[in-house]
Point group: C2
Chain length 308, copies 2
């Protein structure tokens, strides 16, 4: 019987412009890597080979808390070890904590004989996510576990919908080395919005879902507009309007803030366009003398997975 698995769980883009708090999708790169081991000693122990100095108290670690939520739900006394071997930069806005939580529950579930399917694991990963962001959102963890585009229709009860999408969709990501705390990004949002603005937003959300499911790239592009959150949060990002304009001029279907930033994402028709868009991102931040990483990726169809 397998006693140990190496798990990869992907970076994810939450919000997806108009889909604030209800949608996310998974990337092929970057990803977290976690070795999950059964141990004879009960309890959960964490170790860190990434050099990032991750918190090793399971309750203070997203992966630890997620694994504990799963084990406690099952009433399992099985001991586990989680060894972090590769980590998406924390605070990047591409679901670093969600990837850890997803990897942990996916690996533990696998070694326990898969009592849960992927969708069933999301609730536990959410409890890990709460350690990082202060609230149990699913818009990163759901795609990190399940892959693809995931709609969170509602939370009471949790209602997850895997959306089909056109396979030519690629994503360009830029992670500039700027610090934005999720809590700060949340605090600056207005708690009330004009009804007129909300209507515009849900027209775009509806258009995005229709564009994804119908495979209409033009409609996806026209719908990737956030009139609620981006106008507020973009002030935290240097030259946002100009960077975004550059991405659109390089051919992106749409471009917005990934999660609560500082990363930006752009959805594109094919790898070639996404590569050009990533270059436009790099040039824009180079000009501002802000170091950055860029990624070009298809949509990750699978989500978390065991690797050799």
């Amino acid at each position: 019987m397998t006693q140990s698995v190496k798990i990869q769980a992907p970076a994810t883009v939450a919000n997806v412009a108009c889909g604030f708090d209800i949608m996310g999708f998974a990337l092929e790169a970057p990803h977290d890597e976690l070795i999950v081991r059964k141990t004879n000693r009960p309890g959960l122990r964490l170790s860190d080979k990434t050099g990032l100095g991750l918190p090793l108290d399971p309750r203070a670690n997203t992966a630890g808390q997620a694994a504990l939520a799963l084990l406690e739900h099952l009433g399992s006394q099985q001991g586990f070890e989680l060894e972090f071997t590769r980590k998406i930069s924390p605070g990047s806005g591409i679901g670093s904590s969600a990837a850890s939580a997803a990897a942990a529950v996916f690996g533990v579930n696998l070694l326990l004989g898969e009592p849960f399917d992927r969708q069933g694991l999301v609730q536990f990963a959410m409890q890990g996510e709460a350690v990082a962001s202060g609230s149990a959102h699913a818009d990163n963890v759901a795609p990190a576990v399940m892959g693809g585009f995931v709609l969170i229709r509602g939370y009471a009860p949790l209602d997850l919908v895997r959306l089909p999408y056109p396979k030519e969709l690629h994503c360009a990501i830029v992670h500039p080395e700027i610090e934005i705390r999720t809590q700060d990004a949340r605090r600056i949002l207005k708690q009330h919005i004009p009804l007129k603005t909300a209507i515009e937003q849900w027209g775009n959300v509806a258009g995005l879902v229709a564009g994804l499911t119908l495979g209409d790239l033009g409609l996806i592009g026209r719908s990737l507009k956030d009139v609620v959150v981006e106008p507020v949060r973009s002030v935290m990002l240097p030259n946002f309007a100009q960077v975004k304009r550059g991405a659109l001029e390089a051919g992106a279907l749409g471009c917005s803030i990934s999660g609560s930033g500082p990363s930006l994402f752009a959805l594109c028709d094919g790898r070639e366009v996404a590569t050009r868009v990533a270059a436009s991102f790099r040039d824009a931040f180079r000009e501002m003398e802000i170091p950055c990483q860029t990624y070009v990726s298809r949509i990750n169809e699978l989500g978390a997975k065991a690797v050799l």
Copy 2:
């Protein structure tokens, strides 16, 4: 060359619970019927065989204004006569004025050799709709012209998306004899809404679009929730909560206010359920001693059409 056509244009349900101002669908019954005739005398003349005493000044009549908008756009000097032979009850909340506007532009366009496709006609029908409701909305006229479910992603520019839907969907409608003016229904809405509520609404909108396009009746039912408009407008409808509960108990997937009311609609899996739901509507209003009409209908796939 044809000089005269009889046109039917269907009743429509706008808003569709969570899709306030951005969505509508067409019914098989009831409908408007309008005879459109070319005349040698230039100008537009209206006549009314319905006995409803419709306004016969073209600028004060939704059909007249819609036809004029089309003719003026084309710079056409062709004279036309519009004869109303059948009319959905005005003020019913199932798109009576939209049906007239749709029938007029559809018939005039046909007799002019179809310079516009159905989607292209919507902009002119909207100008007719503005006569009735004071603003140029498309959520009734677009499905009245185009049939099916139509998403209005945005207005600047007008972006209409015909959504696929599961063919087993049927609709039960009840039109109680209560008067609600569209302007009043609009006036009582709050101009700002909590962000939290808006997020819940756009989760449901996204779920509804996904449910329709993926043919997932359960998801459609879970998504047919309006947390923004229904809670405000339903106070204008006697015993709304009880009538709605009756419809859900009779098997409806979801039930809400059609347009700005007073009609209610319920989407159902099949004609049999819809017939039961219509009966529950009838019973509820009979108990309140409020006269009502009910309709059971498939979704109208075609929209406006010429008949013999």
